[in-house]
Amino acid sequence: MNNAIHQPQTVVVLGGKSDIARAIVVALDSASLRTVVLGCRNTDTADAAGLEAQLSGATVTARHFDATDHAGHADWVSAVASDHGDLDIVIQAFGQLGLDAADDPVAAADLVNVNYAGAVSSGLAVADRLRAQGHGVLVALSSVAGVRTRASNFVYGSTKAGLDAFTTGLGHALHGSGARVMTVRPGMVRTSMTEGMDDAPFTVDAVDVAAATVNGLRKKKAVVWAPAKLQGVFGLLRFAPDFVWRKLDT
């Protein structure tokens, strides 16, 4: 159960190696937090112990999770719930940048399969469980890259656009069920996924996204931007003429 001040007892991460998701788990730590499950493709490198050391008393376990095993997602969620009880917060954090996707149709389709199709099938499986327990929050990591796609990463951006449309729509579908969805739209974040890349404007760290996420949970928001000012920035950029938009993307 999430208590009255939005502290969860059980947190599940899909894409358990995500720096942002792990920072969110640390930000959600409290005397109430008991169980963290890290769903990872390769559990050997999940470093559950490393995360556990940053928490005040919760047990962290790694569990094999494959974002592309669409047929297995419902069973995966059921198995986690039968082992650990109600899922209070599920963080959907898996995803790849797919830097070569624009030049490789197969790699692009694979990226869609992970970032978008995986998010849809696992998101629906999670939603089913949350609806059945009458409460819980799905936190989905979207990206401003999907708000308006750019030449430099439009395949990645398109998967996040699809994910974003899916999760915000799922939130509407769950309205009144006790379950909620919160879609998080970070800008550029310094993580292992973006290592070696130059900072874009408004680049933040994983802990900043985590703080914005926890704040959004407290305020029961449907969408969170990180940093918050990106909401205003993209409110304008969305309508910038194409030649201006292309100029900005250098």
Binding site: N3, A4, I5, Q7, R131, H135, N215, K220
Partner: protein, 450 residues
């Protein structure tokens, strides 16, 4: 057929969705509980999550056509569990009776009063509501109905597991309890204004035994030299002679009881900001005379907030918590420390309440025990509440104290276990009558009560 409903407690936090079934007492056993179980809900005045059951069933037990029976010779009442204190008082006060114990609202049900084993301003003398219950009817997990009571031949163990048992032993459908005889619908109340916490502690330690009722309103929102300034109210039910002396006009209709509701609060954003709270407290404190004897109505004395419908909306959509704990009398330093921390933290809301408890009632999970109990409200949307409350929780249990399950909305299984040494014994009794987990609530899951 039931319907899906998003439910919260009075604090309007942690909403979950359940199938709500409104049934008569005879049909409780028929309610399908499924995998997530079922829990009875009265008027939803517990602050946190004990009367909600995400994904499961929530049972509202409807009163029958004749829900209240009064035995005027024995001074007892037999009442359907779904009857509210509001309705009960409207029926019994004109006959010269009052409930043996009432909390600060009359919008609770008899079933809820037993399941939470509620207390009131008279606890130092009258103990809890459960203490006055003579027998109760309960529907058990296997569908059978039993009449149980405090005597050894009436399932006394199950009875004391049910008094304060948060509805987790079964669904209470009817209860017989003692009533209090009263001569008038007024109280004779002595009000005293005290400058700080130490003066209050001294005054309460000294004179409580002389009055049936005693409670202090404390200002925990104002810093400085006036920390703990308070208004101590001590009183008794007014007799006809009292009225002749103090309020002769009230003698015209001394047992009338027909309180109206003033107005309901519309949905508003949180207006309980610090300025509003301090202004309210300043006015509240100033309006009380230094020393005064008055004759408030029963409603004015026992249920002052009931005049404002839906006052919980003042805290906006984020809701609020009511933090209530008790620490033993010898842990007075812990009380002082908590008061200091709450004042320093600056988030306490309007008028907090301090009271001295009398003996335990006997319920395995009943909250009151001898000591000081302090109650204050906090807006739930304030950032950083978690660590602050976790520290208070620890201070309370380290001092041998505990928290009130009917108020709790945030704490942990460890804190509850530390505060209730008979928890395991209670669980064993509970499991003996509900081996398959038919009864469940959000609070029970959150606090590992099952």
């Amino acid at each position: 057929m039931g319907h899906q409903e998003l439910l919260t407690g009075w604090g309007r936090t942690s909403a979950t969705s359940a199938t709500v079934e409104s049934v008569g007492a005879d049909d409780v056993a028929q309610v399908a509980s499924g995998q997530r179980g079922a829990i009875a809900r009265g008027l939803g005045r517990a602050y946190g999550d004990p009367a909600q059951n995400g994904g499961g069933a929530v049972i509202r037990v409807q009163p029958s056509a004749n829900p209240v029976w009064i035995d005027t010779v024995e001074s007892t009442a037999t009442v359907d569990a779904g009857v509210s204190f509001d309705e009960l008082l409207r029926r019994i006060v004109p006959h010269g009776f009052f409930v043996p114990v009432t909390p600060g609202t009359r919008f609770i049900t008899v079933g809820g009063a037993i399941a939470s084993d509620v207390h009131g301003k008279g606890h130092h003398r009258d103990l809890t509501f459960g203490h006055h219950v003579l027998s109760l009817d309960i529907v058990l997990a296997d569908g059978s109905e039993r009449t149980i009571g405090p005597d050894a031949d009436a399932d006394a163990e199950l009875y004391w597991a049910t008094i304060g048992g948060m509805g987790l032993t079964g669904v209470i459908t009817r209860a017989t309890f003692r009533l209090l005889r009263i001569e008038t619908n007024r109280c004779l109340v002595e009000t005293q204004r005290l400058p700080d916490l130490e003066a209050l502690i001294a005054a309460m330690s000294d004179g409580d035994a002389d009055h049936r009722y005693s409670v202090a309103w404390v200002d925990l929102a104002t810093k400085g030299s006036t920390v703990g300034r308070s208004i101590l109210e001590r009183g008794d039910h007014a007799t006809l002679d009292d009225l002749a002396e103090h309020a002769p006009k009230a003698l015209r209709n001394p047992l009338a009881f027909a309180p109206g509701s003033l107005a309901s609060v519309p949905p508003v954003p949180n207006v309980m900001n610090r300025l509003a709270v301090r202004t309210f407290n300043e006015l509240w404190f100033r309006k009380a005379p230094k020393q005064h004897i008055g004759t408030p109505t029963l409603t004015g004395f026992f249920h002052p907030l009931d005049g404002v419908g839906d006052w919980n909306r003042f805290y906006g959509t984020s809701g609020f918590l009511q933090y209530q704990f008790v620490v033993p009398f010898d842990a007075i330093d812990t009380l002082r420390e908590i008061v200091d921390r709450v004042v320093a933290n600056g988030n306490a809301s309007v008028i907090s309440v301090l009271k001295r408890f009398g003996a335990e009632s006997g319920g395995f999970l009943s909250f009151p025990k001898p000591g000081w109990t302090l109650t204050f409200d906090l807006a739930a949307g304030v950032p950083g509440l978690g660590p602050f409350l976790a520290e208070l929780d620890q201070l309370v249990v380290n001092a041998g104290g505990r928290h009130y399950l009917a108020k709790d909305a945030h704490t942990t299984p460890d804190i509850i276990r530390a505060g209730y040494p008979r928890l395991d014994a209670w669980k064993a009794i509970r499991r003996s009558v509900d081996p398959d987990g038919r009864w469940a609530s959000d609070q029970a899951r959150r606090l590992d009560l099952l």
